[in-house]
């Protein structure tokens, strides 16, 4: 991995996947300064929100859930090279 560059996998499910028309893609953050000082979930959300109004709205729903490497986390969770970050609405299993 190049210095200052991070690549992560983004996954979207359910209504988010539908609203944004994507289910999975690689996100390469070539210049860490694109994001805030700390590369956390909040920073990734801010970065993706720049993709347009639909992204901004979808990623800023009050009940949005974020899972980092298959575990639900808060927005202050730090994201690293190779991580898998998923966004989705509240789960309705069972």
């Amino acid at each position: 991995m190049a210095s200052g560059s991070v690549s992560i996998t983004i996954k979207l499910f359910s209504a988010l996947r539908e609203a944004l028309g994507e289910s999975e893609f690689e996100l390469a953050i070539s210049d860490i300064s694109q994001a805030s000082a700390q590369l956390d979930v909040a920073a990734i959300k801010a970065l993706l929100s720049q993709r347009g109004a639909a992204w901004k709205e979808a990623l800023n729903q009050p009940n949005l859930v974020h899972a980092l490497n298959h575990k639900v986390v808060f927005t202050d969770a730090v994201v690293s090279e190779g991580d898998e970050l998923a966004f989705f609405p509240p789960m309705t299993g069972g």
Binding site: P89, T92, G94
Partner: protein, 153 residues
């Protein structure tokens, strides 16, 4: 002590036989969930279950292990379906084997209550009125919270 994610219908009898084995524990509790023909407001003709496979497997495995440790289970099994399901089809099956009934009942209840809110599945109902994603229920969130507050046991 295992999890299955599958698109096929759940063979409840086969799951039971496999769960209890040759020398069953003293208390065996099972839960089976089926697709209902209605939701709170409207008729339902089909249910589509989207899931996040890797995370679902991890969440359900961790949940089974948590229940096993907390209630001293001899065996447990969680089977969850995904894909397109018709009314009256199985959605989920949970089995718990323990030395005493209270432990088996509580384990099954903990697993179901947690699975509803913490397992990455999303239901979309199809009916005469069209399709819609199922919203999480306040009552499910409240039942889940009981286990964290220590109210349930």
């Amino acid at each position: 002590m295992s999890v299955a994610l599958q698109s096929e219908a759940i063979d409840v009898a086969a799951e039971y036989t496999q769960l209890v084995g040759d020398r069953p524990g003293a208390a065996v509790v099972t839960f089976t969930g089926y697709v209902r023909d209605h939701s709170d407001q409207h008729a339902v003709t089909e249910l589509e279950l989207e899931h996040y496979p890797e995370m679902a497997r991890k969440v359900l495995s961790d949940l089974g292990q948590l229940a096993a440790e907390r209630f001293g289970l001899r065996n447990w099994r969680i089977v969850h379906r995904f894909g397109l399901l018709a009314v009256s089809e199985t959605i989920v099956w949970v089995g718990a084997v323990a030395d005493h009934r209270g432990e088996a009942i509580s384990a099954c209840e903990l697993i179901m209550d947690t699975l509803k809110t913490d397992a990455p599945f999303w239901k979309r109902e199809q009916g005469p009125a069209g399709e819609q994603w199922v919203a999480s229920r306040d009552s499910d969130i409240a039942r889940r919270a009981r286990w964290q507050s220590g109210e349930a046991q």
